[in-house]
Symmetry: C2
DNA sequence: GAAACTACCTAAAGCCTTTAGGCAAATGGG
DNA sequence: CCCATTTGCCTAAAGGCTTTAGGTAGTTTC
């Protein structure tokens, strides 16, 4: 008489994401996941290569979930409205699912990253910038600024960086978004290339 | 005949920081540190409470080192010059010492954080903002924006987010700093408080 | 010079990872 | 329907990291 639990890489990643929200991504471990399925540890190794593989799968799941939310939030919005919506997707997701969010910050090797939903994220940031008037390469600089600021803010907030100090974090967040909107509307012109006009370094 | 190596919490933290730069902060472990001193693992437990304590000490060391560099960089500078100098302190430190930088992102419990060099960091960011015309509470919002953007950018960059894509990261970094400078010079006015004028939330 | 302390040690328990090899249930071709 | 294969979970075991308990030999102190 043998129990078959029905493990798959997908179910493991999902359960791992839930576990991350409950106990923190650091504590997500092959052993802990096995306990959660009431199964021996070794059994999981038929479905994930190793601990790192598991974490990568969770990260990819998270990136997909966030991208899906972002796509839904951006539909039918433009300009500052879109900017704020996208920003709030990340922040709200992080607040609702801190463990998942931490998983999403897991570094991926380049090939994995290229095949991940991370690509959709930068496409959506670019979509937001359609509401502003930015040509390349400035658009790319702006994409990077937005990504950095969103994730930097949320990470610091999650780490407790802004708690117990006034003004409260929500207010700063609102003002930061106001500021980014203003910045994108009047993006400063690139300065003259220093010396060699036709061959920028 | 007994070998005395001369372990202290400080030396352990320093060696841990070096180890982090060599093999990554994730791999910094009490065992690895013991090997590095050619000493038995248990011996370290007279000097640090546990693994978490060790990591916290490394984080505090890193925050101090970065604050020292920042203080040196800010001396005699103001305005955009100061802004760029401070930003580059973080970015250069992260590039030179990726493991140490990762250690510095280790979350600290509130009391530890309050007693850390983190306080100096926000003071220095405020000092940079003296070159711009920002009254409270907007100054605090701006401090948070700068901290988020600096650390967000550097983290993404370190995670490989901007590699193998053009324009190169150095160029984006320069333009992001141009943009932040422009933003601080024309910081958008706070919108009207929605309903209760004399009692801002 | 004895007492107390310091700095490192041995021993051991507990948990996590990973690989190897096994057995029963499900599957599917003849 | 039956047997062979595959699938899914198991036991066993080795190796690493953490942490505590208890020892021992220099070193300091009075």
């Amino acid at each position: 008489m043998v129990r078959r639990v029905g493990l798959t890489p997908e179910r493991l990643a999902l359960a791992g994401a839930e576990l991350a929200d409950e106990v923190g991504f650091e504590q997500v471990t092959v052993s802990a996941l096995a306990r959660r399925f009431d199964v021996k540890v070794a059994s999981l190794y038929s479905h994930v290569r190793n601990s790192h593989d598991l974490k990568t799968r969770i990260a990819l799941l998270v990136l997909r979930e966030m991208a899906d939310r972002a796509a839904a939030a951006l539909a039918g919005r433009a300009g500052k409205d879109a900017l704020v919506a996208l920003a709030n997707v990340y922040r709200d997701y992080a607040h609702e699912h801190p463990g998942r969010y931490a998983a999403g910050r897991q570094p991926l090797d380049p090939e994995t990253a290229a095949a991940s939903a991370g690509v959709r994220h930068s496409q959506m940031t670019r979509a937001v910038l359609r509401g502003y008037d930015l040509a390349e390469p400035e658009q790319t600089h702006a994409v990077r600024l937005l990504g950095s600021t969103f994730h930097g803010y949320v990470s610091l907030e999650l780490a407790g960086g802004f708690s117990h100090s006034s003004p409260d974090s929500q207010e700063s967040w609102t003002r930061v978004l106001d500021a980014l909107d203003a910045l994108l509307r009047s993006w400063p012109a690139a300065p003259q290339a220093p010396s060699e006009p036709s061959e920028p370094s």
